[in-house]
Subunit: 374 residues, 2 copies
C-alpha cells in the first residue's frame, strides 16, 4: 500500500488546525475547506479555501484536489458523501461511518445491534412525543438532538415539559429523551483504525463535563482495570462495526458501577487532546497516519499522569490571552475571545494526577483572565 | 512587560518551519522572509514573502510589518541589523549578538575575553597565511571559514597545503586554522535567555558529527557531571556577554578530558531538535517565548533517554520518503531530496540510550531508503 500525501480536511476549526500542525511535522500536505477566512486552521494552511461544507460542489472541488478527504466536524450530509464515494473519491472515515457519527439515533442502532449497554432512551420526533417521553421518566429528563448538536448546544439537562417547549429546535429533528442519571464518572476511549483494519487504542481517560462541554480530562483514569478493559473492547467493536478509518472517540457514562455507551465521534476529539503530551503519538498524528495509510504510531503513555483543561472565553478574556504560563503545554487556537467559546487548552504532566490537574486548572484560569494585549 | 504577538522570521528553512509549528500551538503569529517559495516554512506560513535576506529593504519591510524580528540562519549583514535597530525596529537576538554569531573570529574574541578554553587557533587572511599556519601545526590542519559556513560547508578536515589551495574560497574571508585534535567527545548546550536576562538551560547533549554535519544527538550525555556543569557555566557566561535573546547553542569538544569551546549559534540548533520530545518545552517554543517576551518554559527532561538522528538525502531517497516508521517521532521538512541534504530528523525516546539510538538510526535509514511515492 503506497501512502497518500495530500489530505483534504473539511472544516477549519481547532481539530483541523491541530491536524495541520501534525501534518507539517510528518511531511504530509493538507488543504482545508473552511467556513470563514479567520478559522483556526487558516492560520497555518496556505491552501485554505472558503466554502460551505454542506455544499456538494465545494466538497467535490476539495476531493478533486486531494488524494483523500477527512473531517474536522460532522456538519456534512452523509448522502453527499456517499455520492462522492460512488464517483471514486476517497473519504476517510467513509460515508458509512460518517452517517453513524453525525446521527445519535443511528449510533443507538449500532450499539443495540452489537448488544452494548446504553442509557434508556426514547427517540421522539415531535414536541408532543418529547413531552410524553419526559412524563414517562418522571417529569424531568435529558434531551439531545440526534443531529447537529455539539459542545453543549443541542442538549438540555433537567428538561421539563415546559423548558422542552422553549428549547425544541424549529427544524424537524429527532430528539433523544433519557432519564436523568446519577453518573459516577465519565470516561472516553480513543481508538485509531487503519484502512487495513489495524487498530491502536489510547489509555482510557476520565472526563469532567461542565455546561455540556468537556472541561477537564485526566489520565490515567484510576478506574477498575476490568471496567477499562470492557470500555476498550466496546470501543473496538464499534470501530470495526462502522468500518471507521481514523480516530473514533467513544464516550461512556459509569452509572451504578456499570458502563453505558453515550456517544461517538469519528474524528480527533477534545477528550483526546491530552495525547499530544501524554502518549508517544498524538491522536492528530495517528488520525493522519490512518487516513494516509501509514503504520499507526504507538499510543503508549509516556508520563505518569496528565491533565488537560480547556481555555474558555469569558468577559475578562483579552484578545492576546495574556502571559503564557511556563509549567504547562499551551495550545491556543487563535480564535477571537467570546464568552463560552473554546479558545485553547493546556495540558500539565506530573508525577501525580492531583498535581497535574491543579497546574492545568491554574494555567487555564490565568489564560482566561489574561489582560488584553491587542 | 506586555508580550509581543507578531514575529518576523528571516529565512524559511526547517528552523523557521519548526518555529512556525510552535508558534501555531501557542497562538503567536509569524511572518517569514524566505529565499524561495518552496522553502520549508512556506508550507505552513501563509504570510511568507520571498526576498533576499541580504537585501536591507526586504529586511526593513519585514521588520515594519512585525513587532519583533528573529532569525532562521546567519546569512545576514550585522551592519544592516545595526541600522534597523537604530531606526527603532526590535531584533531578537539583536545586532550585537548576531555580529558575534555570524563570525567565528569574533566568537574567539568573546571566548578569549571571558577566559574560556578554545582550540589553538590561527586566523589566516590569505592562502599564504593559511599555508604557513598549516605548516606550523605539522602539515595537516582543520580549516574553517570565519563567516558563511554551515553543515560542513566552509570546513576542511585534514587540510594540507595542497588541498587548502584548492579549497580556499574566492571571496576574501578570514580562515581559522586549527591543529587536528584527538576528540574524545562533542557536546552541546542550549541556553535560552529572555530579554530580561532570565535564563533556562537544557540538559547537555552529546553530538556525533558525520561529514561536518550533526548526525546523532543523545541525551543524557553520560559525561562526568563536573564537565557538564562547567559546560553549562561557560554557555551561560557567553549568553550574558553577547546579550543574546532567544536560544544560544554552544558546541564543545572534549579533548584529553578537558572542554574546549568550539562555536556558537544564536538560534535554535540541530543539536537541540531532540528537546521537542525529550524536554517539557522545545527549543523552538522557548526561542519564541524569549523573543516575544513570555516567561520561559521548563527545560526539564521528561524521558529517561532520547536519541535524534538526521534524515539525509541519498540517491535512493524517494520524493515521498516512503512509509513513516511507527516507533519514533518523525519530523520531515518537505524538502526535495538531494544527496547530502538534510530532509528531516527522527527522535526516539526509550529507557536506555542504546535502545533509543538504535531505533532512531533504523528509522532514519528507513526514511532515507524509502521508495518514491510521488
Amino acid at each position: 500500500m503506497i501512502p497518500l500525501r495530500t489530505i483534504g480536511i473539511v472544516g477549519g476549526g481547532q481539530l483541523a488546525l491541530m491536524m495541520a500542525e501534525a501534518a507539517s511535522r510528518i511531511g504530509l500536505e493538507v488543504e482545508v475547506l473552511a467556513a470563514r477566512s479567520d478559522d483556526p486552521a487558516a492560520r497555518i494552511v496556505p491552501r485554505t479555501s472558503i466554502g460551505d461544507p454542506g455544499d456538494p460542489s465545494a466538497l467535490r472541488d476539495l476531493a478533486g484536489r486531494c488524494e483523500v478527504v477527512t473531517f474536522d466536524h460532522e456538519m456534512v450530509d452523509p448522502t453527499v458523501l456517499g455520492d462522492l464515494e460512488s464517483e471514486g473519491f476517497v473519504l476517510r472515515p467513509g460515508a458509512r461511518a460518517m452517517a453513524v457519527a453525525v446521527d445519535k439515533e443511528r449510533q443507538l442502532e449500532v450499539f443495540g445491534r452489537l448488544g452494548l449497554p446504553v442509557p434508556a432512551t426514547t427517540v421522539a420526533r415531535s414536541l408532543d412525543e418529547v413531552r410524553i417521553a419526559i412524563d414517562a421518566v418522571g417529569g424531568t429528563a435529558v434531551l439531545k438532538v440526534a443531529i447537529g448538536g455539539y459542545d453543549g448546544r443541542g442538549v438540555l439537562l433537567g428538561a421539563t415539559a415546559e423548558s422542552a417547549t422553549e428549547w425544541m429546535p424549529d427544524r424537524p429533528v429527532a430528539v433523544l429523551v433519557q432519564p436523568e442519571m446519577d453518573i459516577d464518572a465519565e470516561i472516553a476511549v480513543q481508538v485509531v483504525r487503519g484502512a487495513d483494519g489495524d487498530m491502536v487504542v489510547y489509555p482510557v481517560v476520565r472526563t469532567v463535563q461542565r455546561d455540556g462541554m468537556c472541561a477537564v480530562v485526566q489520565v490515567p483514569s484510576r478506574l477498575d482495570p476490568e471496567i477499562e478493559r470492557a470500555a476498550v473492547d466496546m470501543a473496538r467493536s464499534v470501530a470495526d462495526e462502522i468500518d471507521v478509518v481514523g480516530v473514533l472517540a467513544v464516550e461512556f457514562f459509569i452509572v451504578d458501577g456499570a458502563l453505558l455507551l453515550n456517544e461517538i465521534a469519528a474524528r480527533p476529539h477534545n477528550s483526546g487532546h491530552i495525547t499530544m503530551e501524554s502518549s508517544r503519538t498524538s491522536q492528530f498524528e495517528n488520525h493522519l497516519r490512518a487516513v494516509a495509510g501509514h503504520p499507526l504510531g504507538s499510543t503508549e503513555l509516556v508520563v505518569p499522569a496528565a491533565a488537560m483543561v480547556n481555555v474558555v472565553g469569558s468577559s475578562r478574556t483579552g484578545g492576546g490571552y495574556g502571559i503564557l504560563p511556563a509549567d504547562v503545554a499551551v495550545h491556543l487556537y487563535g480564535k477571537r475571545p467570546r464568552p463560552g467559546r473554546k479558545l485553547g487548552h493546556v495540558t500539565a504532566t506530573a508525577v501525580t494526577l492531583e498535581d497535574a490537574t491543579e497546574r492545568a486548572l491554574r494555567a487555564a484560569r490565568t489564560l482566561e483572565n489574561g489582560a488584553s494585549t491587542s
